[in-house]
């Protein structure tokens, strides 16, 4: 087994373990920490795919900013363990198989979509150009300049909306 395979399987197992821990965890803070584990391992996978800019953004913005916001709100609201309701038998015998069915359906769809079919038999991972970030910035600030500027308006509106929503009623 070569090094990329080892790194891939280590990160994949960590990511899936984090996802399962998210479901099993009773406390919201444990769920948040397990999702940070998933995000970190996905960042390493992005590096493996040659998207170093996205890997850095994943760590800085996702794990650094968004999840810190979640953890902050969990601490602010003093969120304890979630109340147990009796887990109905319908959920156990229908819900769990349906979840796995959805998973299989997604994998099946990914393979048999035109895009998926063309790469399932393809040469696998292509060689990575070493100027990805440079080319990405060219694309982002030329072809996608308008959506990029529009996201700044979106962030501004989101900040205003969050301020108004979280304000205490007078």
């Amino acid at each position: 087994m070569s090094l990329p395979f080892v790194v891939f399987f280590a990160c994949a197992i960590l990511a899936v373990a984090g996802g399962i821990l998210l479901i099993l965890a009773r406390e919201p803070i444990h769920s948040a920490l397990s999702v940070i584990l998933v995000m970190m391992s996905l960042a390493i996978l992005f590096l493996l795919l040659g998207a170093e800019f996205i890997a850095a953004v994943q760590i800085i913005v996702y794990a650094g900013a968004i999840m810190v916001l979640f953890v902050f709100v969990i601490m602010l609201l003093n969120a304890g363990s979630e109340e147990r309701t009796n887990f109905s038998h319908i959920a156990k015998f229908v819900g769990v198989p349906l979840g796995f069915f959805l998973l299989l359906l997604t994998a099946h769809w990914l393979f048999h979509s035109p895009a998926g079919a063309s790469i399932a038999n393809g040469p696998g991972s292509v060689d990575v150009p070493d100027t990805t970030t440079r080319a990405l910035s060219m694309l982002l600030f030329r072809q996608y300049l308008f959506p990029f500027e529009a996201t700044s308006i979106l962030i501004l509106i989101a900040v205003l909306g969050a301020l108004i929503l979280a304000r205490k009623e007078q």
Partner: protein, 102 residues
């Protein structure tokens, strides 16, 4: 040095997305449900990056960038809604939010 096949990444992405959907359906804490949505967005990001690499086009990476920006905006507004909800309902349980339930 052989590279990892593209399909492995897609299967991992599908597994993570499925786990996110299961968590949204099963969890009762509203903050945990929000976190599960972030997990699904992450799975989709992995698929985007994988397809971008497979086709050697960088547009997918730009879309991942936009997905992350929209996720940040969504988290800010969503958590503000959670805070005002807790101020009204005194509970994080999603079962208590049933005014519009049929």
């Amino acid at each position: 040095m052989t590279a990892v096949p593209i399909s492995y990444y897609l299967v991992l992405s599908a597994i993570l997305f499925g786990l996110g959907v299961v968590a949204v359906v099963f969890k009762r804490n509203i903050i945990t449900i929000f976190i599960s949505i972030e997990l699904m967005l992450n799975a989709v990001n992995l698929a985007f990056v994988t397809f971008a690499r497979a086709h050697n086009q960088l547009d997918g990476l730009v879309f991942v960038f936009f997905v992350i920006v929209v996720a940040a905006a969504e988290a800010a507004v969503g958590l503000a809604i959670v805070i005002s909800l807790v101020q009204n309902r005194e509970s994080l349980n999603i079962e208590r939010v049933n005014l519009l339930k049929f």
